[in-house]
Symmetry: C4
Subunit: 126 residues, 4 copies
């Protein structure tokens, strides 16, 4: 299994409220990263906004043969992602990985879910 070293997710939004038991039912925006290679992946996330400079990079490690489901809600360094604000993100990894974007929106009593495989770009930066 091979993957790509660059992935884009144009849609991003952390809802401002939640209903249901925490933490599994808290509203969240997630990028799921799968590393099937024999080496650990050092991953950098950059977050893009509508009207300000991008945030990041946020650094994550996904060990060899492991998956990591990163919640944008939990990102803190170098800064938190604001809630209720549209954003987009790019994932760059030093080894090939595969990325999927999922949102659980639990602002209302019943939850809504969305998911899509991210867009596999090429590594040349724009």
């Amino acid at each position: 299994m091979t993957g790509k070293t660059t992935w884009a997710i144009p849609e991003g939004y952390i809802p401002e409220g939640s209903t249901g038991p925490e933490p599994e039912m808290i509203s969240h925006e997630t990028v799921c990263i799968l590393n099937t290679t024999d080496g650990d992946a050092t991953v950098e996330l950059t977050v893009y906004f509508t009207d300000r400079e991008p945030a990041g990079p946020y650094e994550e490690t996904v060990p060899a043969g492991r998956t990591k489901h990163v919640r944008f809600n939990d990102l803190e360094d170098p800064e938190e992602i604001p809630t209720g604000t549209p954003f987009a993100s790019v994932v760059e990894s030093d080894v090939p990985v595969v990325c999927q974007h999922t949102r659980l929106d639990s602002r209302q009593a019943e939850n809504a879910l969305l998911s899509t495989i991210a867009y596999p770009g090429t590594g040349e930066s724009g």
Copy 2:
């Protein structure tokens, strides 16, 4: 990160009603566009219907290093997109971008969400 200059979204539908607080809970059909390049993107949207000529082009600008979440509900020039009507859309940009399609359907008390990365075509027109 690179993208593509042409994207297609065969599914499109603006529901006719909404529940919940505006504007974040109003039913909407969105194309999220991410421009990671160093130059502003001039983007043209064309909207296709079942039984009439296509509408548009609708022109949007996505600045360098920014994302824009365009709501089909808000398009006005050259004409509004009718609600309750199936449509499809094509995005053409003068620089490579990445596009994702998302719908929030809030006609009923609890919302439904769908999302998918758009189809990255090639720039040759049909």
Copy 3:
């Protein structure tokens, strides 16, 4: 804009009941086909099952510069698609098109939605 002449949708399921006003809220499984070319598309759908021979082909026409949102619920010739039964489908077109799969599940009071761009295969038959 170009597309592909062959598309696959491994997931298919027509729920057995609906709630809400017809026809827009009836549970449905849809393939949205976009034809941006200058010529009409003659499209053939083949439906695959778990434990019987495939059904079809079902023939549809998508005119030049138009979209068609085909509901599997409505297919009748050569046979109806059974409800409550897992299936998959392949779309073959004589001109390049783009396909997206969407389901509205309205068995319960609040609806659920899913959508994804179909998988663009190549035209060689299996």
Copy 4:
């Protein structure tokens, strides 16, 4: 129609509870596999976790010209997939197939759905 012999699904999660009639409304995580070739497909699923060695392979057969909707909930050999735990999966087949990932989350009274075509990798192992 052709497919690929390797597919990745970075997102995976089996919710811990369900509401509604069984079995069609039980929460489930599914990979739908379509085999349009003339030969049976022998498929191996490997499941990746956050903090332990991968599980599997789980072996499935998808006959020629058939689809199989595999529920991760039902996998037993060599071990069950734990509920309430993030995972990812890779599908490897000896003939080209097409894979789609779908979840029905029925923990609450109204269900949520997500679906996406899986990521078509190449066969070289990492």
